[in-house]
Symmetry: C2
Subunit: 336 residues, 2 copies
Amino acid sequence: MAAKRISIKDVARHAKVSITTVSRVINKLPTVNPRNIKKVEEAVAALKYRPNISAQRLASGDNNMIGLVMPGYPGIFHSFFAIEIIRGVGHACESLKLDMVFHITDGRNPLTANYLGGIIFADIIENRKQVQDAMDENVPCLVINNVVQDMDVNYIAINNVKGGRLSAEYLVNLGHRRIATITGNLRTQAGFDRFDGFMKRMDEMKVEVPKEYVFRGDYSRRSARQAAEFFFSMDEGRRPTAIFAQSDDMALEVIAVAYEMGIRIPEDVSVMGFDDNPQAIYGPIALTTVRQPVFEMAEKSVRLLHDMINGRREGRIKIELEPELVVRDSCIPCKA
Amino acid sequence: MAAKRISIKDVARHAKVSITTVSRVINKLPTVNPRNIKKVEEAVAALKYRPNISAQRLASGDNNMIGLVMPGYPGIFHSFFAIEIIRGVGHACESLKLDMVFHITDGRNPLTANYLGGIIFADIIENRKQVQDAMDENVPCLVINNVVQDMDVNYIAINNVKGGRLSAEYLVNLGHRRIATITGNLRTQAGFDRFDGFMKRMDEMKVEVPKEYVFRGDYSRRSARQAAEFFFSMDEGRRPTAIFAQSDDMALEVIAVAYEMGIRIPEDVSVMGFDDNPQAIYGPIALTTVRQPVFEMAEKSVRLLHDMINGRREGRIKIELEPELVVRDSCIPCKA
DNA sequence: ATGAAAGCGCTAACAG
DNA sequence: CTGTTAGCGCTTTCAT
């Protein structure tokens, strides 16, 4: 196939210097005569030479590829979360000149990733073993979006418990007492924590949340629709005056269902989301929500990993980022 | 950092065979004595040996990494298209045991990708030069979602003109004569072709499309909302009886706006989308749309590229996949 | 400032 | 069936 590739030798010959000098120019080492630099650069241009990265890596031992491993459960790719992670990691890699190797995993396959300089695990569901393996192989690792207690691993996560609390607090302070919620996927840590924080804070504030006000969703619009239809078909006296949907996407669906059923948002029911998905700014009313800095988390994870790979960082990284209330128009004080 | 890595030599020593034999076992070459296979496998397990992929590549010359290059224009990551591409390519790579290196590009940086076995360009906007470069460097390339006429390059695309035609035809055959459309981003080929096919077929069928019925959107929900508000505020006699939104996402927004404004879909206005986004099956009414097989296209592209890399395929690949009408509930015969 | 030479870890003839 | 040996293309001492 590929016509004979041009190697460093060809460049050296063309520039009439040794391959060592060529190597120095490529790696921008300071100890090269300007004249030679110029000659080499010309040769590189003329021959369209590109160093063979495998050889560079083999010889130098270092490695600027990082892996992004994501669980492949259904729906994840349509979630705001996944997209933001990919964007964030991709962006940071681009600016740090790292290569990003993307892996979708179901946790079964062993993930032969030893040729990677480091690995970012975006959430870990069924693939904890892969994390352990990578650590055993001495590959720098970082888990994103998961507070990991039972493994000695680096992580950077978002304080979802806090997020849930923020939401409960805000709604109660607006005077609401009949507050329903639609959970995300409770098998994910983020989903569980959001819910947990919400319930705990409600309890602290002495507002009861009856069972029928808790709908177990899974982040899909479909589940949100079911939930909304269920809540809105309750009779006036029982119907919640506020709904906390634990993702913006679900909140948007709740609003859509409301319009279909002739229920006004926020006059009849306040709706609150979670994510700060830009989609939720347009639409009939701007959504009040809890912002979680996913993109920033993703970017930061790359920077941290990069430091680890280069030995610029020792010890465990355990970071929790704070979510933040974003007040817009979809929640108003309770009139009841 | 990384503790001394275990090399093939260590394994050979441990198993008391030559490194060649170890190599043979690793590569599953048939000519090895079962006893030795066993010994080597045990040594590999005991030492947790993992071959160094850079060395393998350097020595063998082949390469199972493929690049996925995507233009990074705003919004692309929230589009159904991008997600499906990533999913499709990721999935195919997983099953073919290829590694996927993901690149977001703005077309500026030269994309040093010569260490890749092949590259998939997902749509090309401002980065045609990168394609040319890759070809110059003899790297197998495949462009997705773009019919490329002016460059001798492989592509696999979707016949969007046909898709636009399908939609025009269906709506006209339902008796509609006042048909409006919201275009996607016309700077993308897919967006332009969709629009072009629609207009041509309308013309062929002798149905005029006045300027005010054409809204130049950009695939964003926001643009769809603007368009819908514009169309729906026309007075009865001029208001379109059908709207062709050139993405499902936009169609969904049109429907949302309709509900907010008290316009019934499809009784008052028929709405048609484009994509076959599964999101559009739920919601108030199942959306009639044009299906474009993006996931399949992405998967197929990996398979084709894989064949090219292995020399199992010669000559240019120029494939156009056919879109297909998906009739659901959002379009009904015109009553006017 | 420059070059010669010794590997990096692995594969692939080539002998045996 | 197995081992010896010569590279793959590059980086990195170590002299010069």
